[in-house]
C-alpha cells in the first residue's frame, strides 16, 4: 500500500512540478517574446537610425563620393553654432519652426474644437457641411498646393489679390504673398491650418460624442447656460483629447516639411524666409550630399524635440492628465 501510495504521490507530484516549471518558464519568456516584434521594429527603425545619425555626425561624409568618411569630432556641431552663415541659417530655420508651432498649435486646437462643436449639432444638412470641412484632408497636399500657389500668386493673377482688390476698390491688389519674407511664413501657416484642421476636428468630435448626455441634462436642470455647459461639462469631458490634439499638433508643426517644400521651394521665392529645420536637413543631406552635417542637424533637432515633449508631458501631468 505504501509503495502504491508513494507511487501515487510521485505520479501526482511529477506533472505538478512539470506544470510549475512550465508556467515559470512561460512567465519568464512570454513578456520578452510578445514584446520582441515591437522592440525589433523600434530597434531597426528608431534606435539604429538615431545611433547611425549620431555616429555620422562625427564624420565628414559626402553622398556619392569615393572618399572615405573622415572622423572630425565635433566639427559639424561647431560649424552649426559658430559658422556665421550656417548658424544664421539654422537659427532662422529653428525660429520659423517655433513661430509656426506657437501660432498653429493654439489656433488649430481652438479652431478644431469650435468646428467640432459646430458639426456636433443635430441640424439638417450637417452631413454635407461635415464633408466639406473634411475635404481638404482627403485631397493630396501636392494637389492642393497647386491651387494655393495660384491663390497666393502675386499680381492680379493671384486669387487672393483679386478678391482683396475687389473689396478694397483696387487699393490692395499686388502683394507677393509667398515672395515677401514678411508674409511668406504667414501664408504657409494659413494654408497649413486649412489643410489639417479637419483631422483634429474629427478627433475632438469623437470625444464630444462620448460625453454622456445625462451630464448636459443635469446641467440644464440646474439652469446652466449653454456657455456654462460648454465650460463646465464639455471642456472637462474632452480634456484628455484636447491635450492629445495639442501634443500631436506640436509634433506635426515641428516636422513641417511638405507645405514649405510644395509652396515655396518650387516657386521662385527666397528659400531662407520659409526654411524649416526639416527642409534644411533634406537640403543639406540630399541636395548638397553633405550627410555628416545633416546628421548633426538631426541630432540637435531630436534633442530640442525631446525637451519640448518632456516639458509638455510634465505640464499635462501636473494638471492630472494623461
Amino acid at each position: 500500500m505504501t509503495t502504491t501510495k508513494t507511487q501515487q504521490i510521485q505520479t501526482s507530484t511529477k506533472p505538478l512540478r512539470r506544470r510549475r516549471t512550465a508556467s515559470l518558464s512561460g512567465q519568464q519568456f512570454a513578456g520578452p517574446l510578445f514584446a520582441s516584434p515591437a522592440l525589433l521594429g523600434l530597434a531597426i527603425f528608431l534606435v539604429a537610425p538615431f545611433v547611425l545619425a549620431l555616429v555620422l555626425s562625427f564624420y565628414r561624409v559626402q553622398l556619392n563620393s569615393p572618399r572615405p568618411a573622415r572622423f572630425v569630432g565635433f566639427e559639424q556641431y561647431a560649424r552649426l553654432f559658430t559658422d556665421p552663415d550656417m548658424s544664421a541659417a539654422f537659427g532662422q530655420a529653428l525660429l520659423n519652426n517655433f513661430t509656426f508651432a506657437l501660432i498653429v498649435v493654439p489656433v488649430q486646437t481652438v479652431l478644431a474644437l469650435a468646428l467640432a462643436v459646430l458639426v456636433n449639432r443635430k441640424l439638417r444638412g450637417m452631413v454635407i457641411f461635415r464633408t466639406f470641412i473634411f475635404m481638404p484632408l482627403v485631397f493630396p497636399l501636392a494637389l492642393t498646393a497647386v491651387i494655393w500657389r495660384l491663390i497666393y500668386s502675386r499680381g492680379d493673377e493671384g486669387l487672393l489679390n483679386a478678391i482683396l482688390g475687389l473689396f478694397s476698390g483696387g487699393a490692395l491688389s499686388s502683394h507677393d504673398w509667398l515672395g515677401d519674407p514678411a508674409t511668406a511664413m504667414g501664408s504657409i501657416i494659413v494654408m497649413s491650418i486649412w489643410q489639417s484642421v479637419s483631422f483634429q476636428m474629427i478627433i475632438v468630435l469623437a470625444a464630444l460624442q462620448s460625453v454622456p448626455t445625462e451630464l448636459y441634462e443635469a446641467a440644464s436642470l440646474d439652469r446652466a447656460s449653454k456657455w456654462a455647459q460648454f465650460l463646465n461639462v464639455t471642456v472637462p469631458g474632452i480634456r484628455n483629447t484636447l491635450i492629445f490634439v495639442a501634443l500631436i499638433t506640436t509634433i506635426f508643426s515641428f516636422r513641417l516639411f511638405d507645405q514649405v517644400y510644395l509652396l515655396s521651394r518650387s516657386g521662385s521665392v527666397d528659400r531662407g524666409s520659409t526654411e524649416t529645420v526639416m527642409t534644411q536637413i533634406i537640403n543639406t543631406g540630399f541636395d548638397n550630399n553633405n550627410v555628416g552635417q545633416a546628421a548633426a542637424m538631426t541630432v540637435i533637432f531630436m534633442l530640442i524635440i525631446t525637451v519640448i515633449a518632456i516639458i509638455q508631458r510634465a505640464a499635462a501631468r501636473q494638471r492630472g492628465g494623461v
Binding site: 530597434a43 572615405p68 499680381g155 493673377e157 515672395g179 521662385s268 521665392v269 531662407g272 548638397n288 553633405n290
Partner: protein, 450 residues
C-alpha cells in the same frame, strides 16, 4: 533584474554602433575599390548581348529609343541589346550604388552628373571604342559637356538651348524691333526699354515670363536663368575650383541685380499659360516648350537672351550616352554608340522630343534648327560653343555648366542665391554666402580632385 537589463541595453547599443560603423565604412570604401578602374574595360568579342541603362523619359522618347535599338539589331545579327529603363529621380542613385560588376555596358546620363560619375569611377573613356568619325561629328557644345579632365566620356544625340520666345503680333503693336541673331541681341538696358514699351500693350501690364514656375532655387535657376545672366555679364560661378572671387564678383552682382529689376515686368506664370494665352509678349525658356508654343504659328519668333556686356549666352547640354567603367564588351558597346549617333538615329530621336540634334551633320540637316528654318537661332547658338565657363569669349554663345563632381552644391547654392536676389535680398550678400558655402563643401572634399 535591473542590472542585467541595463547590461543588455549597453550590449545592444554597442552592437548598433558597430553595425553603423560598419555601414559607414561601407559607404566610405564602396568608392575607392571602383575608383581606379579606367583600364578595367575589355574589348571583348564584339558580339553577344550588351546591357543598356537609360532614363525613363517621355513616352515618345522611349518609343524612339526602342525603335533605334530594333533597327540596330536588325542591321547586324551579332549584337543584342538589353535595355533597362529607370525612373528619372532614381537614376543617379542607381548608377552610383551599382557595384562594378553590375554596371551596364552602355548608359545614359544627364550632363551635370557626368563629372560625379567619372569621379566615382563609373564611366570609361570612349576613345578607342567609339569611332573617330562619331567623335568628330559631335557638336562642340556637347563635346564640352562630355569631356572630363581632357578625356571624352560621352556622346550625345540631342542638345538643349534657351531663347526668348516672342509674339510677333504684340512686338509689332508696341513698335518694337527685335534681334534675330546672337550678335544683335538686346543689351540689358535696351531690354528694360523694350519691356516698358511692351507693358503698354499686354493686357495685365506684365509683358515678360521668366519661367518662375520652374523655381529659381534649383537646377532651372542655375542652368538656365542665373547661368546665362552670369556668363553674359562676364562672370563665372567657379574660377580655379573656387567660388569666392568668382561667384560673388562685382560683375555678377551687377548682372543679377539687373535681372531682379525686371521682376516688376514679370508675370509669375503660376499656371504655365502666360505665353500661349497671350498674357505676355516674351517668354524666357528652353527649346522644350516649342511643341506647345508652335500653336502661335508664324506669330512665334525666337530672340536671343539679353546681353549683359559680354554678348548673349545660353546654357547647353543635356542627356548623353557613355560606357560603363567595367564593360567586358567595349567593342560591341562602341558599335552601338556609333549607331546611336548615326544621322538616322539622331533624326528619329530628336523628331520624337523636338530637341536640337547634337551631331554636326544632323543639325545641318534639321528641318527645325537648320539654316533658314524656324528655330535657326537655337541651332546657331549651339554651333557657337564657348566650352566651359573659363573659355567664354564675346562671340561664343553656348556655355557648358561647370564640369565638376561638386556640381550638386554649386547648383543648389547658385539657384538659392538667385531666388533670394529676385525676392529683393542684397545681391552681394546672397552671392557671398553662396560662394562661402560652395568653397566650404569643396574644401571638405579636397576640391573634388581625384
Amino acid at each position: 533584474m535591473t542590472i542585467p537589463k541595463s547590461r543588455n541595453g549597453a550590449r545592444f547599443l554597442t552592437a548598433a554602433a558597430a553595425v553603423s560603423i560598419a555601414a559607414l565604412a561601407l559607404t566610405g570604401c564602396g568608392g575607392p575599390g571602383t575608383g581606379s578602374t579606367d583600364s578595367a574595360i575589355e574589348p571583348g568579342s564584339g558580339e553577344g548581348t550588351i546591357n543598356v541603362w537609360a532614363v525613363d523619359g517621355q513616352a515618345a522618347e522611349n518609343d524612339a529609343l526602342k525603335k533605334i535599338i530594333s533597327n540596330f539589331e536588325s542591321s547586324q545579327g551579332k549584337i543584342k541589346v538589353e535595355l533597362k529603363l529607370f525612373p528619372s529621380d532614381q537614376y543617379t542613385k542607381a548608377v552610383n550604388s551599382a557595384a562594378p560588376g553590375d554596371l551596364p555596358d552602355v548608359l545614359d546620363f544627364d550632363g551635370p552628373t557626368l563629372a560625379s560619375f567619372v569621379y566615382n569611377g563609373k564611366m570609361a573613356p570612349l576613345k578607342g571604342s567609339v569611332s573617330d568619325a562619331t567623335l568628330s561629328n559631335q557638336t562642340d557644345s556637347i563635346t564640352s559637356q562630355n569631356t572630363v579632365d581632357d578625356a571624352v566620356y560621352g556622346v550625345g544625340m540631342m542638345n538643349a538651348g534657351l531663347a526668348l520666345w516672342g509674339s510677333k503680333k504684340l512686338l509689332d503693336s508696341a513698335g518694337v524691333a527685335y534681334p534675330t541673331t546672337p550678335e544683335k541681341a538686346w543689351t540689358a538696358d535696351e531690354f528694360t526699354g523694350v519691356l516698358d514699351k511692351l507693358a503698354a500693350v499686354v493686357p495685365g501690364g506684365k509683358p515678360l515670363d521668366l519661367s518662375e514656375q520652374y523655381g529659381f532655387a534649383g537646377e532651372w535657376g542655375t542652368c538656365c536663368s542665373a547661368g546665362p545672366v552670369i556668363w553674359s555679364g562676364g562672370g563665372t560661378m567657379l574660377k580655379d575650383n573656387k567660388a569666392s572671387g568668382a561667384l560673388d564678383s562685382d560683375a555678377n552682382v551687377k548682372s543679377l541685380t539687373k535681372f531682379a529689376s525686371w521682376k516688376k515686368y514679370t508675370d509669375p506664370n503660376a499656371d504655365g499659360l502666360a505665353f500661349p494665352s497671350g498674357r505676355v509678349a516674351l517668354s524666357w525658356v528652353g527649346h522644350w516648350t516649342y511643341p506647345t508654343y508652335k500653336a502661335l504659328g508664324s506669330d512665334l519668333v525666337s530672340i536671343p537672351l539679353p546681353d549683359f556686356g559680354k554678348g548673349t549666352k545660353t546654357a547647353s547640354g543635356t542627356f548623353a550616352w557613355g560606357m560603363g567603367a567595367t564593360t567586358k564588351n567595349s567593342a560591341a558597346a562602341g558599335k552601338f554608340l556609333d549607331f546611336l549617333m548615326s544621322d538616322e538615329s539622331v533624326r528619329t530621336y530628336t523628331a520624337a522630343n523636338g530637341a536640337p540634334p547634337a551631331t554636326k551633320t544632323a543639325l545641318a540637316a534639321s528641318d527645325l534648327y537648320g539654316p533658314g528654318k524656324q528655330l535657326q537661332l537655337l541651332g546657331d547658338q549651339l554651333s557657337k560653343a564657348c566650352g566651359a565657363e573659363d573659355q567664354i569669349s564675346d562671340t561664343c554663345v553656348s556655355v557648358t555648366r561647370p564640369v565638376t563632381a561638386g556640381y550638386p552644391i554649386v547648383t543648389d547654392q547658385v539657384g538659392k542665391a538667385e531666388a533670394a536676389i529676385y525676392a529683393g535680398k542684397d545681391a552681394k550678400e546672397a552671392l557671398s554666402a553662396a560662394a562661402r558655402a560652395i568653397d566650404q563643401n569643396f574644401a571638405d572634399n579636397d576640391g573634388y580632385k581625384k
